[in-house]
């Protein structure tokens, strides 16, 4: 038997289980409808969950991007200060972040795709549930229990297949979200650890060294300015704030 037929039979087997449950087949209609509403709520919550994960990835990518810009600036500063070793260190760290950003981008695309799929699944299910509600009332009003059986079987099988499909889509989205969460956790740790500390924080060794270098040259510059003033006997017109120190 072909794969496509086997799959459709598996979905139908699932549906007939739902139909076997109730003694009065009309009860099946109400039971199935309850399940449908539950599922609609689940899938809508699923869409929201995926959206939350997607936003988290966006935020992390943003944070990583900021770190990278900062490291780039530090590298430039270090080169200006003649400290190639520091520049190399900053650029090395920056390179390490590039692959993380790439990973986040891929993940972002995947989450976006899952979000779109779940949204569509939710819309498809909504259309079927609406149709089922109308059919359900018609069947209850028009047919006796015995007569209704075939009609109910058709309606329940039809929607049960849709629910199975939506359920699979939700599982996939959950899997993707879980994968994303473990990665996001790892990146959060990276961001929190000293390796990627806020570049202006004192625990950042590159920044500390750069500060030392630039502070040193600021002091030297101030010193020679003072010497020059004293030497020429002129009064300082104003005290210009030393720019480098503001960065600390």
């Amino acid at each position: 038997m072909g794969l496509m037929k086997r799959l459709s039979m598996l979905f139908q087997a699932k549906a007939s289980k739902a139909l076997d449950r109730a003694e009065d087949p009309r009860e099946t209609l109400d039971y199935s409808y309850e399940r449908q509403l539950e599922m609609l709520r689940d899938v809508q919550r699923g869409v929201a969950d995926v959206a939350t994960s997607r936003k988290r990835v966006e935020l992390q990518a943003q944070q990583l991007q900021q770190k990278m810009t900062k490291l780039q600036d530090q590298a430039r500063q270090a080169v200006e200060a003649g400290r190639e070793d520091l520049a190399r260190e900053a650029l090395t760290r920056r390179t390490a972040l590039t692959s993380q950003i790439e990973g986040l981008r891929t993940q972002h695309e995947q989450l976006q795709a899952e979000e779109a799929k779940l949204t569509q699944a939710s819309q498809r299910l909504q259309a079927k549930v609406d149709a089922f509600r109308i059919r359900k009332e018609t069947i209850k009003a028009t047919y006796t229990a015995a007569e209704a059986q075939t009609k109910i079987g058709e309606a329940v099988s039809g929607i049960s297949e849709e629910m199975g499909d939506v359920g699979l889509a939700m599982q996939r989205a959950e899997d993707k979200t879980l994968q994303m969460q473990s990665r996001a956790g790892a990146i959060d740790e990276l961001l929190a650890s000293g390796a990627l500390d806020d570049a202006s924080a004192p625990s950042d060794p590159i920044q500390a060294e750069l500060n030392r270098v630039t502070d040193g040259s600021t002091v030297d510059a101030e010193l020679s300015r003072l010497k020059a003033e004293l030497g020429s006997g002129a009064q300082p017109a104003s005290l210009e704030a030393p720019r480098q120190e503001e960065k600390r």
């Binding site: 072909g2 794969l3 496509m4 037929k5 086997r6 799959l7 459709s8 598996l10 979905f11 139908q12 087997a13 699932k14 549906a15 399940r35 599922m39 799929k117 569509q120 699944a121 498809r124 259309a127 079927k128 609406d130 149709a131 089922f132 059919r135 058709e154 309606a155 099988s157 039809g158 929607i159 049960s160 297949e161 629910m163 199975g164 499909d165 939506v166 359920g167 699979l168 889509a169 939700m170 599982q171 996939r172």
Partner: protein, 92 residues
Amino acid sequence: MIVRILGEGQFDVPDTALDELNELDEVLVTAVESDDTDAFTRALGEVLAGVRAAATPHAAAALDSSDLILPGPDSSLAEVRALLGDEGLIPG
């Protein structure tokens, strides 16, 4: 004939396309049985392309069971095997 592509919904496919789909379906079955990931991905792509070429979307508000069900385009061989291996895996 109603064909469902998992994750995409139901489509009406004319019966004239059935022979071609059955041939592709056999390739798919062989790929699953021999656990050949590459062949599976290729065959699935071909079946989906075949269905899409012949299909029109089935009415959204219809409550009909599908005659045939196809895995979605990004399904892995492992996922399909899991589906086939245990009917309990179909949620809902």
